[in-house]
């Protein structure tokens, strides 16, 4: 059922102005642009950066804290730290006794986390991963420029697109 779902139409309100890609020296992001063109993870992160107000995005494995891909700015300056710290937060959410109380299927019971700060939005979207203890998309947005509803809808579509055959 999940696999048959049609891809959602890309957001009309997307602008390219936030498309700043900073490949970390020696980081993972650099690895993906080589070889046979843009990869699934890269493309997903670049599209996340096209959402209005996007400042940084990452795809992170939440058990290990492995950054599978990073793009844009990192809150605090270090993408690796952001990946490790958001992974700890994501794990606490995914395994929380209250949030998992009525869990009825595989994968994390929690689907999304929204943290609103004075200056920004931090969004976490868990994806249905190939193996348990999977990954989440993280998106950091500027609160002045971003549209929270639009960003959440966009992130949801991107997370589905990652694992959509």
């Amino acid at each position: 059922m999940y696999r048959r779902k049609m891809p959602e139409v890309p957001e009309k309100g997307c602008t390219e102005r936030n498309l700043l890609v900073t490949a970390r020296p020696g980081g993972h992001a650099a690895a993906w642009t080589e070889g046979s063109g843009v990869s699934g993870i890269d493309e997903c992160l670049l599209r996340a950066m096209a959402l209005p107000g996007a400042r940084g995005a990452a795809l992170v494995e939440w058990v290990s804290g492995l950054a599978l891909g990073v793009v844009g700015e990192a809150a605090g300056g270090d993408h690796e730290v952001v990946a490790a710290e958001t992974a700890a937060y994501a794990r606490a959410t995914a395994e929380h006794p209250v949030f998992t109380a009525d869990q009825d299927g595989p994968g994390p019971a929690a689907q999304e986390v929204v943290v609103v700060t004075g200056t920004g939005y931090h969004l976490l979207r868990f994806t249905e991963a190939p193996y348990e203890g999977g990954v989440f998309l993280y998106l950091w947005l500027d609160r002045e420029q971003a549209n929270l509803a639009l960003a959440m809808r966009g992130l949801r579509a991107l997370a589905e697109g990652l694992v959509l055959v």
Partner: protein, 262 residues
């Protein structure tokens, strides 16, 4: 582990191969690293489940579909591409699994305690195929970060290779605190014989995830922390190390571990 040891390159040979932009396979006692143009494209270790286990465990890909892909494209080293082109897997999903398996196995291959000779066979490619590699420095950095993460959870490295034994408190009904489902599943398989790697293979998870959960369970007092002398994985005998000249050595090593698990 001292701070100095944590930041020195794990394998000087690997750094040299990266500089030379070498293509081939690095064979160590702990597993193998496949390089293409000096970047790591694949890793295998007897201690970590292979990518086929991770891909098929969650039910997203059937073992039959995987066999079909290997039969059709394994000889051309394009199994992964075949799976995506024939719409068995999404490109993103494949990459997540490939990178997850790579860093999982590389953590064991690059473990500082690994002894024996490293050998490199030029020109060898992996049957799975890969669109892009990860720089050696990034793979080593991630392995280092993982070691520090485990240290911060519960500083008892012996837990990584020792059989997992559930503590008596964990077996008493009602005495157990709330456990997330993933940790409960692991504890359920802790029979005092299986190692974290064996449990990870049974559950179809990356082995490092099992190491993390075992450390957390030990910190909670639900898994026994081994005491006494260090129990490191046994070094392979000299005659066995020499079979590194054989391209199928990695297969033999995995076979040996699989037989030990029975």
């Amino acid at each position: 582990m001292s701070q100095a040891a944590a930041h020195s390159p794990v394998s000087p040979m690997l750094s040299r191969l990266a500089q030379e932009r070498a293509t081939g396979v690095l064979i160590r006692d702990t597993g193998t690293l496949y390089l293409a143009d000096g970047e790591v494209v694949h890793a295998e270790s007897p201690a970590a489940p292979g990518i086929e286990v991770l891909l098929t465990a969650g039910g997203r890909l059937s073992p039959e579909a995987f066999q079909e892909a290997v039969a059709a494209a394994g000889a051309e080293c394009a199994t992964g591409r075949w799976l995506v082109e024939h719409r068995r897997l999404a490109a993103g999903e494949l990459e997540i699994s490939r990178l997850g398996a790579l860093h999982d196995a590389a953590y064991f291959v690059l473990s500082p305690g690994a002894g024996g000779q490293s050998r490199f066979r030029h020109g060898v490619r992996h049957w799975f195929g890969s669109p892009g590699g990860v720089p050696v420095a990034a793979v080593e950095g991630e392995a280092r970060r993982r070691r520090l993460l485990l240290e911060s959870l519960w500083p008892h490295p012996r837990l990584d290779a020792a059989p997992v034994t559930a503590a008596r408190t964990a077996l008493r009904p009602g005495a157990r605190p709330f456990l997330p489902r993933r940790q409960a599943a692991l504890l359920g398989l802790a029979d005092g014989v299986r190692t974290p790697s064996a449990i990870a293979a049974l559950l179809g998870r990356p082995a490092f995830h099992a190491l993390v959960d075992v450390r957390r369970l030990a910190a909670l007092g639900l898994v026994e922390t081994p005491r006494g002398s260090a129990r490191t994985p046994g070094r392979a005998p000299a005659w066995f190390q020499n079979i590194g000249d054989d391209p199928d050595a990695a297969l033999l090593r995995r076979l040996r571990v699989a037989l030990e698990r029975l």
